[in-house]
Symmetry: C2
C-alpha cells in the first residue's frame, strides 16, 4: 500500500462516480500515472493546503513546483488554502515565491484569518465595533484589511493579571453586537503563540457577556515549531480555553471560519467566479481539516502523506474523513510521471 | 422565596428522609430557626466551602464566626473544603485566622491541590518521577509536601516559544508512568493566573505522549480577582486548553481531584477517622461543585446565596445539583437564631 488511492464509501456523488463502489470499506488502488492523469483531466481547479503539502519544515516538498507549474500549463486554476491565521495572505504568498513558486500572489492564497474577517462581514458585525483578537499579527492585519478595528492580539502579549481588573471594568456591560451599547462587536481567535491568562480572561468575559466567538480554525495541535516532528497546540486549544472560561461546555465557538467549514469553501468559490465544486480537487495532508473540507464542499480529494497523516490513519479513515485518492506527495501530480 | 430551604426530588436517602417528598419539583420552605436546629442536630460534621461561604472579596461573611463557633461548641466537627489550588492548606488556614476564625489550623483545611497530590499517591505515580505542573505556588508546594518532584508552575511563568523546541526535545519519548523510561510521571494542573503558551504546549506534549492528566478541579470560571462581580477563568479553562492541545475532544482529564469528585470526599472522611457521610452537611455556594459534591458523597447539603449562585438558579436546580436546604448565608446556622 505504498502508492495508492482510495475509493471511500460513496458519501457524495461528485468524484466517486468514476470509481468502483463498495458499500463499506472502499477499494484502494495505486495512484498510477494513468489515474493521476484522469484525476487532472476531470478537474478545472486544484486547491492545495500549504504546510505538509507544498512545503514542510521551511523547504519546498520535492516535485511541488513541477506539479503546480504542470497544472497551470494545462490551464487549471491553482490556489492555496490554509488554516494558518498567524500570517496574512500577502506574507504566505511571499513565502511561496521565496521557495520557488514564483507566480504566487496574494490572490492565490486563502487563509483562515481572512475567512474569519469575511465571515464577520457576512454575519453583519458592524464595522464601528471593535473586535477583540487572540491571535498573531496576520490575523489582526486581515481583520483591519476588512475594515474592522481591533484590540488584543500582540498588543496584549505582555499584559498580566495586574492589568485585568481595569480591563474587565472597561469592558463590562458589553452586550452582543446586535443589541449592545458597547464598542465591542466580536471575539475572533486563531492560534497565538503568545497566549496568556490576560487574553483568555478578557475574551472569556466578552463571550460570557454575549459577544459572538469566531474561531479562525479549530485544529487541536499541529507541527508549528521549527523542529520537525514536534507538535504545538493549535487554535482549537485556544478556543477550548476561551469557550470553557466563558462557561460553555463542551467548549464551542459560534463560528469556525477555516477548513472544514463549508462557508469557507463557498467564499472561495464565489471569489473565483463560481467554480463548480465537482470540478475541483482538494489536496491536503490532514483528514479532519483538508479532506473533510473537500468532502463537505463536494470536491474530489487527494490525501498526501508528506504531512501529519500516516498511511495507517489514512487507511482507517471513514465517512467525511476518507479521501478519494492517496499519494505519497504532491509529486504524484507531476506531468513527467504520466 | 427569600429565606428558604429546598427539598429536592429524592435522589438519595440520607437527608431527604426527614422531609416531605414530592416526585418532581420538590417543596421549598424557609429555613426557619427550628429547621436549622433540626439540621444541626441531625449531623456530626459540617463541611464548609470557603470563598463565597465563609469569606467573600477578602472579608468574613457576617455571622460566619458565630455560626462556626456555635457548631464547635455543640461538639460538631467543622472543616473547610475548597477547590482553590492556588494557595496551600497552611496559607488558607492562616487567612481564616486573620479574618477571625482563630482556631483554624492546616488540619481543618482540605484543598484540591492537596487532593491532587494524594490522588497521585493513590494511583501509584512513582515518587522518583517528576510532575509537570500548570498552577500556582500552592499547588507546587502540596505536591512537594507529598514527596513529588515538580517542574513547571511559577518557574515557567516567563518562558516563551523561544524555549519550547529545546524543552520538548528534552521531554520527548516520555512514556506513561507505568511503562516509561523517562523521568516524568504525570501532568497536574490547577488554576494558573500566569498561564502561557509554553506551559500549555509542554503539558499537552506530555499528555499526548501518554502521561496521565490530573486536574485539581475543573471549575470553568469564578470570582478570583480583587473586584467583586468579575469572573476570571478557572482550572477548567486551563484543563480545556491542555487536553485539547493533547488531541482530546471533548477535552477531558484522567482524574479530577477536587469537588465534586467522590474520591476527594472519601479521602477527607478517611482522614477524619471515617465520618459517616449521612451525618455530614456540605455547605457551599456553587451547585456544580459544592452541592453535587455533597449529593454524590451522600451528605446533606445547604446552599448559601452569599456566593455565585442566584436564587433563580437555585430554584431551577435538579438532580445532583439540587440542594436539600437553601439559606441566604452561613448566618442561618448561628445558634442565636434558633
Amino acid at each position: 500500500w505504498g502508492f495508492l488511492d482510495t475509493w471511500a464509501p460513496d458519501h457524495r456523488s461528485a468524484s466517486a462516480s468514476a470509481f468502483l463502489r463498495l458499500p463499506r470499506f472502499g477499494v484502494r488502488r495505486s495512484l498510477a500515472p494513468q489515474r493521476a492523469k484522469h484525476l487532472v483531466e476531470s478537474a478545472d481547479a486544484f486547491v492545495f493546503d500549504m504546510d505538509g503539502v507544498v512545503w514542510s519544515g521551511g523547504s519546498l516538498i520535492a516535485g511541488a513546483c513541477e506539479a503546480l507549474d504542470g497544472l497551470r500549463s494545462l490551464g487549471k486554476t491553482v490556489i492555496f488554502v490554509t488554516n494558518n491565521s498567524m500570517k496574512r495572505r500577502a506574507e504566505l504568498a511571499a513565502e511561496l515565491r521565496q521557495l520557488g513558486v514564483d507566480w504566487a500572489e496574494e490572490r492565490h492564497v486563502f487563509n483562515s484569518g481572512a475567512a474569519a474577517a469575511a465571515l464577520l462581514e457576512v454575519r453583519k458585525v458592524p464595522k464601528d465595533r471593535e473586535v477583540y483578537v487572540i491571535g498573531e499579527a496576520g490575523l489582526v492585519d486581515e481583520l483591519r484589511l476588512r475594515g474592522y478595528q481591533t484590540s488584543g492580539g500582540p498588543d496584549d502579549a505582555l499584559r498580566s493579571i495586574e492589568d485585568l481588573p481595569t480591563a474587565l471594568s472597561d469592558l463590562s456591560g458589553q452586550g452582543p453586537a446586535s443589541t449592545g451599547t458597547g464598542k465591542m462587536g466580536a471575539v475572533v481567535l486563531g492560534n497565538d503563540r503568545q497566549l496568556n491568562f490576560f487574553k483568555v480572561a478578557v475574551a472569556a468575559h466578552l463571550v460570557r457577556n454575549g459577544l459572538p466567538l469566531v474561531a479562525a480554525n479549530d485544529d487541536l495541535y499541529g507541527p508549528q515549531g521549527p523542529v520537525p516532528g514536534q507538535n504545538w497546540p493549535g487554535a482549537g486549544s485556544v478556543m477550548a480555553a476561551v469557550a470553557a472560561g466563558a462557561g460553555r461546555w463542551p467548549p464551542t465557538p459560534d463560528v469556525i471560519a477555516g477548513k472544514p467549514s463549508i462557508d469557507f469553501a463557498d467564499a472561495i468559490r464565489a471569489e473565483l467566479g463560481g467554480l463548480r465544486a465537482s470540478r475541483m480537487v482538494m489536496v491536503g495532508d490532514r483528514l479532519d481539516t483538508d479532506i473533510a473540507f473537500g468532502v463537505r464542499a463536494g470536491m474530489k480529494t487527494l490525501l498526501v502523506l508528506s504531512g501529519v497523516t500516516s498511511e495507517a490513519a489514512a487507511r482507517e479513515a471513514r465517512g467525511e474523513l476518507a479521501p478519494d485518492n492517496v499519494a505519497p506527495s504532491i509529486a504524484a501530480l507531476c506531468r513527467t510521471g504520466w
